[in-house]
Symmetry: C2
Subunit: 383 residues, 2 copies
């Protein structure tokens, strides 16, 4: 039986998510917004019976058994951990720091019977599901190189906010790069152990962000990851990722995996492959998207989100009890542990960009001294 | 009046170059090959009256006033310097080391009346000539990012030779990367001051290279250059270059320049542009190549080579005396100084790949102790 849903957030994702949930048969009972006004506006627009700006009102809502959290990264951990504590299933976006991610992992480990997945929808995009399957079947042989590029217009909100602020989880690396880092570990079955990166903020001020305010989050980022895993070649996998958000009017989303016997390339939502000695083949075409088109949400994310909601439906439908869910349909969803890995890589890349050196990826195993994080942030600001 | 030409080399470039020279009206009088047999075979095929395996026989040939050198990098310096010393004009491929490049610069400075250009033909490709012009005119605004990728099949010769050997000047970085490094400095008017790179040799043995022999030259290379120059934005230009030669059956050659007001992308021999707020436009289409198609030479190099030969004709035609040439038609050709810069960047990228750190690009100003180079090579081998 499908659970009732409570949605946190009033941004683009929340706006797209609610109709998708409804079309799969979920009932959305409650909406949370940062201000009463935002919440009430969107609730009316999307026809949601209850809205609030107090998080507990959603978390404790009787009808809500699944909580979807799409809010600024710095607020995610608090809501996600609390939701699990109250016994609700959680789908949420990334947190702002590795420490926050670690706290979420701790909570998820404590309530293994609850669904707790990160909202990286790229894993669910049919092109990447097919790519994952073909890689497992050995289509490209031993994986050697992954080469990813995402180009698009600015990620900044119209007014000054967390998207402008690196420490709040803004920027191309944190917003888009983290989804790519997650995707690459899903596709290759390998994890980064060393990373190197360079972040730049080319546009520090624009028409709406000016005066004493400056953007600190990156609009250009490239990084390399040296990954190793069971399926990769003896030398490991080299990944190169280029993110550029100074390209208004364009959207490029290409993920290429090159191996000893061939290669696979996902361009947008299509998948192409070429095995050595053969011609390139279209393995998965554009399946004719019938849903809404939202300018600020690229098609791969949009279609991935739609597929994720379908998977959630299958997972919950499998059981009578409305809080119970089956593992298999959401088996490929990223866990909170994956979220911690991704956040750790993101922070290592930032460290590398500052130091100019390769940084190692060390996954947190115990919570650090709570003051340590503050010191680090202060130190970073000084640099 | 057009000078008589002597060609060094029997490889793909020499084979393509001779017909191009002839079709522009140059007479090719002499051909040098590493073995008498290679020289005689190709001379017969291309209908060249004189062939030899002794370099002096070409250099001292009465009819030869322009020497084109397309031989393994480790032999280039010796021939080029000698040719200038005898008073011949020189077009040549890159040398193997910065020390060799420096010796060539010294010779070129000593004979400024002689033509001495590096054979990087990409600068002459119409798409890049147009790109260069548009960048000067401010089409993209301030240049922020250059993003280049070249993918293709293996660069290795069929049998074991210098292409397999990193110290002999083999590998994707040295062969293809150096042309890109040169091109980017031509396009942006900026020079790299810091570089970071990663080189890999994924295929160390194949059907013809096996047993105790191993390939040491890179088949995958990723590097970044931080460049600065008069035309670049205050933060400088970030360049990312991805070279992958484990992709049989494909050829991708893309050079993208992104600036504050738009971007330019050369795909193969075509040029596209998009200014912010406008649609993408085809600025230069495929002009219908009527020359030969050679499988082992990609179209941008081929057409660039053809344009370079045309420029050489214009340069020499401008004067009556057959050794004299006009500067203007070949003004955009890379000089030996450019060759030294490129070689210095290549070596810095290799250093960075070994150390894992950013390496600074310091152009040689005086010749080092001749034993120093040997020591370095020995040390590198130890590592």
């Amino acid at each position: 039986m499908l659970p009732g849903v409570g949605v946190f957030g009033t941004g683009t994702t929340a706006r797209v998510l609610v109709p998708l949930l409804k079309s799969e048969g979920f009932e959305v009972h409650a909406l949370w917004g940062q201000s009463e006004e935002e919440a009430s506006c969107l609730a009316e627009e999307l026809n949601i019976p209850f809205h609030t700006s107090r998080s507990d009102d959603v978390l404790l809502h009787q009808e809500v058994d699944l909580v979807c959290i799409y809010i600024p990264p710095s607020m995610t951990r608090q809501i996600a951990v609390k939701a699990l504590g109250i016994g609700k299933n959680v789908v949420c976006e990334k947190a702002a720091t590795a420490v926050d991610s670690f706290k979420m992992v701790t909570a998820a480990r404590y309530y293994p019977q609850l669904l707790s997945t990160m909202g990286n929808t790229l894993r669910f995009l049919p092109a990447f599901v097919a790519m994952h399957k073909l890689l497992l079947e050995g289509y490209v042989g031993e994986v050697q190189v992954c080469d990813v590029r995402v180009y698009g217009p600015s990620l900044l909100d119209e007014s000054y906010g967390w998207t402008c602020e690196e420490l709040m989880g803004g920027g191309g690396l944190h917003t888009v790069g983290s989804a790519i880092i997650d995707l690459l570990s899903f596709l290759t079955g390998a994890r980064a152990h060393r990373v190197h990166g360079l972040l730049r903020t080319f546009v520090q001020q624009n028409n709406s962000i000016r005066g004493i305010r400056r953007v600190t989050s990156d609009d250009f980022c490239f990084f390399q990851m040296l990954m190793s895993g069971k399926r990769s070649s003896s030398g490991g996998v080299c990944c190169t990722v280029t993110l550029n958000f100074n390209m208004p009017g364009s959207f490029v989303h290409e993920v290429m995996v090159v191996g000893s016997a061939g290669r696979l390339i996902a361009k947008g939502t299509e998948l192409y492959g070429q095995q050595n000695g053969k011609n390139e083949e279209l393995l998965l075409g554009d399946n004719g998207w019938s849903g809404p088109e939202v300018k600020s949400m690229p098609m791969p994310q949009m279609q991935g989100l739609s597929s994720m909601v379908k998977a959630l439906r299958l997972s919950f439908q499998a059981h009578e009890e409305r809080r119970s869910w089956a593992h298999e349909p959401v088996a490929m969803a990223p866990t909170f542990e994956d979220g911690l890995y991704v956040q750790t890589v993101v922070e290592a890349i930032k460290r590398s960009s500052t130091s100019g050196e390769w940084a190692s990826v060390d996954i947190m195993r115990e919570e650090p001294d709570p003051n340590h994080n503050l010191c680090e942030a202060l130190q970073r600001n000084k640099i």
